[in-house]
Each structure stands twice: as structure tokens, then as C-alpha cells.
Subunit: 120 residues, 2 copies
């Protein structure tokens, strides 16, 4: 049974906005990503997406609602279909939980789209 | 969009072995539980179960394999059908991911079975 150490796994991630697979269960993926700067506006048509900030702070801008800012040890769920844009002024280390196959850029294809997620 | 602060939520949990619901998404539950002592041996017939230790340390005893011990910031997945028993010699604060409706005592009914999970 594999143990994933979050701190060691984040240290091994070099690229920003490039999620890596930490665990798979019940058709869902647990991903780890280092974020810094502004991501692309997007939504996930059929997938709710959970963000848990492990270190740093993350603002999730929402097109039709107020923004949400998560500090270390805080989580929220962006429901399916809600257009959002993650923004981190400093490096943020984030755990994501969402259905397997969910693309990081959702409905938008960009140079930051990760088609094949790699293990941490 | 609700923000869940893990530290504050754990502070609000008084009972050991009594998971509370932190978030629901894609038919899955994110639960928080304070653990201390030995739980009951059990398995979940159809549900993989993720344990992430937010604070403290947790040993997951496995009937047919070596035990697994998770420290703070470590996670693992116990696959469906694998008999296990969580043990925490000191208080452990644990985040669980599993399908909605998964019972904490799995296939075993005991006085610690939580039928209706409450929100944190």
C-alpha cells in the first residue's frame, strides 16, 4: 500500500500548473499541484472540483459570484459548470479531488492543458 | 461557496471515531475525524477509502499485509474489500475521502457505527 508524503511530493514537482496524480480511488483522482500566477478561466461541465490548500494561499475567482480565498488548511468545492480562475500571488501548494479524467483547463484547451497526468 | 477550515473544524469535533462531513462532491464525501485508541476491524465491500493525516499519526493495521503508519501530511488508500483497523496511540486528526454512504465501521455494526453523518 503506497504512502504519499505531501511535502516530499510537492518538493518533487517542478512545474507550476502541472498537476500530478497522488492517488486514485472510486473513479476519482487526488492530485497535487503547485500554483503561481493566474490560470485560465474555465469550467468543468460534469465535475465538481475540490481545492485544499496545503501551503500558501489561493484565490479562486468566480465569474458570477464573489471570489473565494483559501489559506493553508482550507478547502472548498467549485461545483460543476461554475466558471472559475485560480490565482496565486505567491506559490500555493494545492491538493485537488475530482473525477478521473478531469482536465486541469476544463472546457478550454491551452498550452497548460495536461492530457496525461503523471504520478508524483 | 462554503470554505472549510480544517483546524477550526477539528476543534469543533468532540467525539473520537465520529466522522463529520466537510464536503460532498461527485457522489463522494470528504470527512473529518478525530481518532484515538483502537477502532473495530472492518472492510468496505465496494469502497476504496483514503486516509490523510492532518495532525498526529495513524497506524492502519491490515489483516493480510504489513501495517501502514501515516504521519502528519501523509496519505494512503485502503482498497475495497481489504480488512483493516485504524489505531492511534495519541490523538490523530484525519481527513477521509470515500463514496457518500460509506459507513465508518464498514461491514460491521457496532456502537461506534455512525448511520447519519453530520456536517462539521
Amino acid at each position: 500500500m503506497d504512502i504519499v508524503n505531501l511535502a516530499e511530493s510537492f518538493e518533487a514537482i517542478e512545474e507550476y500548473w502541472s498537476p500530478r496524480l497522488a492517488a486514485e480511488l472510486n473513479g476519482q483522482h487526488v492530485k497535487l499541484a503547485k500554483l503561481r500566477g493566474e490560470f485560465d478561466w474555465h469550467h468543468h461541465a460534469d465535475a465538481d472540483e475540490l481545492f485544499l490548500v496545503v501551503d500558501g494561499a489561493l484565490t479562486i475567482e468566480l465569474r458570477d459570484e464573489g471570489d473565494v480565498t483559501l489559506g493553508k488548511g482550507e478547502l472548498c468545492v467549485v461545483p460543476a459548470g461554475v466558471e472559475h480562475r485560480p490565482v496565486a500571488t505567491e506559490e500555493a501548494r494545492v491538493l485537488l479531488f475530482e473525477p478521473a479524467g478531469t482536465l486541469n483547463t476544463g472546457n478550454v484547451a491551452s498550452e497548460r492543458t495536461v492530457e496525461e497526468i503523471e504520478r508524483v
